[in-house]
């Protein structure tokens, strides 16, 4: 590969390169930032992400391969890149004051955050199983560390070790799955595998086993049942700002890979995997939604809720083998991820404002009286909860509408039925938060934190406004999908 070729290839993945290099530089710069001025590190990290975001936006309409087909730069990748970078930006906003409050303000936090983001972006770009595996690790390893960032708080450490051990266990499956897929096809490039399948030179039974193991590993990342059990513990134990980011970022990464792999290469396996994915989706939404009811800690509740949301997105994968539906389904998944990011950050922002040191202020009862004392925060939380439930005119509703539409279009009315029924179930626990905020007396104390307020407000307003004027986002998601999978 000549230098010119390299430059051309790198230019195509410029946002990723910028994020990685920026992180490396930030690591060095941070050494010179005194401890009490870590805000600079945060701001620099944010600037880096904004730059990458800008670069990513300039890539609109690009649809090409790089690095010999290992990377695809298309609308799908761009959509997720922007989403990830946006989430990263929000994560920085949520983190700074929070870290100070927990007395764990360190520059490495932002560096690791950026590395994790680079992993997620790479995941969106990857079109080769090798790259996917590496991206998976690149996004995970910083997250393991970040989960334990509140060291020496035992719950943070415990979260980290659990996440780490299980994550490593899950990547073991991914590796083995990739090995089997390789064994079946002799290829690791997704496009090559697809062509091999077309050419009939691939053993499908073996391929299916490999695909299953990859599904397990990625299912772990997105917290699909039964690979979800780390979620509540890790979400609870990790610092809330990390959890907020992880909930969105890891899901984006996981789903990026799942969608990319299954839609572009494993379409032929739909006969086998429709039922498997159906089962996973159903289990995930049911268990996530039902168990959430039993939770008393808001972080755990949100963890189960995020499991349930993953289940909803998984639903979009169920009809993945049907060519006329899959476009809509993927677009719906993308849109739902975006909607999920909004709701998630709105909710977590409020959680962060209320969280005090030593894990106080996290019980759902602690939200009592919010409506009276902090009407705006309570309103934002309510909007987030309603959006999670899928009540119009929120973004969550449009997302679910789109998802169910794709699912029904694919002929899975039963799945959609389970989806709506579990939405109903979910109303119960989401409303409990609302009930506590508005209908029970209490004296909550909120930490003043303007960046978090801003996040909450933007996310809250976004949920409503974008819910009503959802056309641009829907168009975007649809175009992104079209450019990638048609």
């Amino acid at each position: 590969m000549t230098l010119a070729e390299l430059a051309a290839n790198l230019a195509k993945i410029l946002p990723l390169v910028v994020v990685i290099l920026w992180a490396c530089v930030l690591l060095l710069v941070d050494l010179f930032v005194p401890k009490e001025r870590k805000a600079w590190t945060a701001i620099l990290a944010a600037v880096g992400m904004i730059v990458a975001l800008g670069l990513s936006i300039t890539q609109t309409g690009m649809n090409s391969e790089a690095f010999g087909g290992m990377i695809i730069v298309d609308g799908f990748a761009q959509f997720l890149t922007i989403l990830v970078l946006g989430s990263g930006l929000v994560a920085v906003m949520l983190s700074y004051d929070y870290l100070t409050r927990l007395d764990i303000q360190r520059g490495e936090y932002y560096v690791l955050l950026m590395f994790s983001i680079s992993g997620m972006i790479l995941m969106a770009l990857a079109a080769d199983l090798i790259v996917i595996f590496l991206a998976l690790e690149l996004l995970s390893i910083p997250l393991y560390v970040l989960a334990g960032f509140a060291r020496p708080r035992p719950e943070s450490e415990e979260a980290a070790i659990k996440y780490f051990l299980l994550g490593a266990f899950a990547s073991g499956f991914v590796v083995y799955g990739v090995a089997i897929v390789f064994g079946a096809s002799g290829q690791t490039g997704l496009n090559n595998i697809f062509q091999g399948i077309q050419g009939g030179s691939v053993d499908l039974a073996l391929l299916a086993v490999g695909a299953a193991l990859i599904l397990v590993g990625l299912g772990f990342k997105v917290a699909a049942v039964p690979f979800h059990m780390w979620t509540p513990d890790v979400y609870e134990g990790a610092p809330s700002s990390v959890t907020a980011f992880m909930a969105v970022g890891a899901k984006i990464g996981g789903f990026a890979a799942l969608l990319r792999i299954f839609v572009s290469s494993f379409g032929v396996l739909a006969v086998d995997f429709t039922a498997v994915l159906w089962g996973l989706a159903v289990l995930t939404i049911i268990l996530g939604n039902v168990v959430a009811i039993a939770q008393k800690n808001i972080k755990r509740m949100l963890a189960y809720s995020s499991i349930a949301q993953a289940g909803f997105i998984l639903m979009a994968l169920v009809p993945y083998g049907q060519e006329d539906v899959i476009g809509d389904a993927v677009a719906a998944a993308l849109f739902y991820l975006l909607a999920y990011a909004f709701m998630n950050f709105a909710a977590w922002a409020v959680v962060i404002t209320l969280e005090k040191a030593e894990g106080k202020g996290l019980a759902i009862e602690d939200y009592a009286g919010m409506g009276r004392k902090y009407p705006i925060l309570a309103a934002i939380m309510t909007i987030a909860m309603l959006s999670f439930t899928g009540v119009p005119p929120t973004l969550g509703f449009v997302g679910k509408f789109y998802l169910f539409r794709a699912v029904i279009d694919g002929g899975f009315v039963g799945l959609a039925l389970i989806g709506v029924l579990t939405s109903l179930v979910s109303a119960y626990y989401y409303l409990r938060v609302v009930v506590n905020m508005y209908m029970r007396p209490g004296e909550p104390v909120v930490q003043r934190d303007n960046w978090v307020y801003l996040t909450a407000a933007v996310a809250g307003i976004g949920i409503i406004v974008l819910g009503i004027f959802s056309l641009p986002l829907l168009t975007w998601a649809a175009r992104a999908t079209m450019s990638a999978f048609s």
Partner: protein, 99 residues
């Protein structure tokens, strides 16, 4: 020498590794079991690579080894950190987060 033999061997090793994760309580041993799983996968990779006369499998193995090294660094650091606070590396002691 059929490739199947290697496949069988790697499957057995992989299962043993997975079992190690499931039944051992020592975090380090669990971690070692994960390494065994990765190695089993590597073995399969190399075998398949040989089968298809391509080197991409071997390259993958190279990457896996690197990743394993990275994981080990983080993992052991974590275990050490935990040991400092808990004086134990029994994973069953790390169960304060539940319900």
């Amino acid at each position: 020498m059929p490739v199947i033999s290697y496949f069988i061997l790697s499957a057995i090793l992989f299962t043993i590794g997975a079992l190690g994760v499931l039944i051992r309580r020592n975090a380090i041993v669990i971690f070692m079991s994960v390494e065994l799983m990765l190695n089993a996968a590597n073995l399969a990779f190399v075998a398949f690579s040989r089968l298809y006369d391509t080197l991409s499998g071997q390259v993958f193995v190279f990457f896996v080894i690197t990743v394993a090294a990275a994981e080990v660094a983080v993992g052991l650091a974590l275990i050490v950190a935990i040991f400092r606070t808990k004086q134990s590396i029994d994973v069953d002691d790390m169960s304060s987060l539940k319900r």
